[in-house]
Symmetry: C2
Subunit: 417 residues, 2 copies
């Protein structure tokens, strides 16, 4: 029975997507404004529903970190509203002409940005994703089927109700946003088979969830993969800058995908640089693991296992390796890395260029922290996720990445010879 309900919701989203497909920017912004208004007006009701989720979560004994993620207080609702306002201010990607040519036969061929259509979002715990993700999809002209974590089900249901009322406020079909409200995990499996109705699925959550979705979806998936990010310090690097970059990349926010997990150091500067940077990292609580050369220089570094070079720690750990030169660094990164974000610190222009050209990652840096890989930092104005795949979108994804294109051909009676 649930299967049919989920299929019906996917169908409803697909149907409603036609109204959004051609909705004017002013109409979509009016919708987003209505959402901010209702969020403000109904913030007490949102918090009451959130209390139910929190009570259940406490009963189930979830961790303090997860409990915090689940919490919607006044400040967080305020942040949600501010986030929607930011999206209102962004230019509408739909209708943008990304290419135009006139052919010898007189045909004028334009490539125009259009909505994807119906987007599925599968996410975990944090209820603010309900609003953040839905609003980005709507601004890009897409209808959306949401599936949030079961622990946030009351909060999510209330937030979806607010969005659906706002859709009606501006005369758009409520079906533009549907929500799968069963806590049953099988619902995800059913959602993944709705290729008849959904154009794309974006998972946000643990690597385990994402891998499961990639392996089982018949709908195209844009996956946010792991971030096993590297900083390589070249022999010609300004070592003060290098220290700041390594420290920032590792320590500023260790739990996120663009934090550095690995440090590679040129052998000629290892004796000078490693003691300094290691001390700085250790004093911030970073556990250091290293190859034999690193350990011969810094005694408190514990041995790194082969597996360490592949791992995304997402915590205050870092593995360190001494390399012969930029070529070994590049080879190491391309072999062990996750192709997310990697940086070289160097004063040598040609080594920098080589690194940028040869490292096959979504974002490659010279002389900057990997922590900048982010839709806001890259100037996209928003972020629905960071893609580590190569098709459609790679790196931070903003509104444009929630669109497709079509060819619009203007003729005057042309036929093919």
């Amino acid at each position: 029975m649930d299967n049919i309900r989920i299929e019906k919701k996917a169908e409803s989203v697909k149907k409603a997507s036609a109204a959004l497909y051609t909705a004017a920017t002013s109409r979509k912004n009016a919708l987003l404004n209505a959402i901010t208004r209702r969020l403000r007006e109904e913030s007490d009701a949102v918090r009451r529903e959130n209390e139910k989720d929190l009570a259940n979560a406490k009963k189930a004994g979830i961790s303090a970190v997860l409990l915090d993620r689940l919490t919607l207080n006044e400040k967080r609702i305020g942040q949600m509203i501010a986030g929607v306002k930011d999206v209102i201010a962004l230019p509408d990607p739909v209708g943008e002409i990304v290419g135009r040519k006139r052919r010898p036969n007189g045909l004028v061929i334009e490539k125009v940005r259009v909505p994807l259509g119906a987007v599925g979002i599968i996410y975990e715990s944090r209820p603010n994703v309900t609003v953040d993700a839905a609003v980005l999809c709507l601004k890009a002209g897409n209808a959306v089927l949401l599936r949030g974590g079961s622990e946030a089900i009351h909060s999510n249901a209330k937030l979806v109700e607010i969005i659906r009322k706002s859709l009606k406020d501006v005369g758009l079909p409520a079906g533009c946003v549907e929500f799968i409200d069963t806590p049953d995990r099988k619902a995800v499996a059913v959602m993944l088979k709705q290729d008849r109705y959904l154009d794309i699925i974006i998972p946000r959550g643990s690597q385990k969830l994402i891998k499961y979705i990639q392996d089982n979806s018949s709908v195209p998936v844009i996956a946010h993969g792991e971030g096993n990010c590297h900083v390589y310090v070249d022999n010609s690097a300004d070592l003060r800058k290098a220290e700041e970059i390594v420290f920032n990349a590792k320590v500023q926010r260790p739990s996120v995908c663009n934090a550095a997990e690995k440090l590679l150091v040129h052998e000629n500067i290892a004796k000078k640089f490693l003691p300094v940077v290691s001390e700085r990292l250790r004093s911030a609580g970073v556990e250091l693991r290293g190859d034999p050369k690193t350990r011969s220089i810094v005694k408190y570094v514990i041995p790194a296992a082969e597996d360490d070079w592949y791992r995304e720690y997402l915590e205050l750990k870092m593995a360190v390796k001494v390399v012969k030169d930029v070529d070994e660094a590049i080879a190491h990164i391309n072999r062990y890395g996750s192709h997310h974000s990697d940086s070289i610190v160097t004063g040598n222009k040609s080594n920098g260029e080589k690194f940028l050209r040869k490292v096959d990652s979504a974002a490659v840096y010279v002389n900057a922290s990997t922590r900048f890989t982010d839709g806001f930092e890259f100037g996209l104005g928003a972020e629905i996720g960071i893609s580590t795949q190569k098709l459609h979108a790679r790196g931070p994804m903003g509104l444009a990445e929630l669109t497709s294109t079509k060819f619009v051909v203007h003729g005057s009676g042309q036929v093919r010879k």
Copy 2:
């Protein structure tokens, strides 16, 4: 055992792809030149291998059409060589800077075109695809794993040998092009699971093959879907032009995906237009099927079943429907069409605009034949296929669609606050 061989070939392609990833344009063009030279020198050998395939095919009693597709004669080898030369002349998409911005913190962020990496191509019968597809992949900096139809196995093996020798001629690893030479159909299933090594799979062939690949691949697929294309003739259309466009779209080459399968006609002009266009189509051998209104006007039109509106005929058949207005035409196309190519013939600018905006297809036309949906006609200079999906590439795919992008970030010591 075969599974391991196929996996090894996928791994070999992935490994070799690093050499192509940064290969200069001159090197890639030298490779393509070497291929043309060897194709010319070894054309007799190619034909001898092709004779073996033809002999087997005749023994197996395949149709004259398929036998023709399988044949490589002097003329076709000449066409293959000319095709490679065309690709040499095309600009290299790799390295193109598609976006650039300077951030307030001084970071300069470029979005740069890079190769996808390792591409899998799965195709049927026509051996020229071996060269056409491989050459496009190579020019875009990609290594390629080929799996052709078993009936062309001798021809394909020889063509791949020529390409691999050419790779060695210019000092690139032969592993840049690998070929699955087992006729066992299970080989495809194994290839579809090589997501560790392949970045993308492009199927070329029947809808059945493509559907199988989409349903079973853990590698992202760019699918070439059906073409159930429409021409809608509006009440304000120039009926002479309309007749030419409909005739061209249906008759000029009925076996291809951008040929029109459906004709929609505004009710106000149906009595005038339908007899004329029907006679013209009938005289070219087109079997006409129609809705009751059409049949009340043109008596020899046979009844169309509900299923007809969904079908891609790929032959001299056309279904005809009288509609109330442009809105009904748009609704019909979005409901029954395959979102490939659809055209309106009209003298009314706002109806034209509405059609272009609301019809959700890879290519939408005003006053031109649907037959132009083609990489060459669109000025891409090449075509690896026509995508009917919305992710990554939609419509004719040229060299640029065989690439990904990466963000290249130039800093001077920036760290995140």
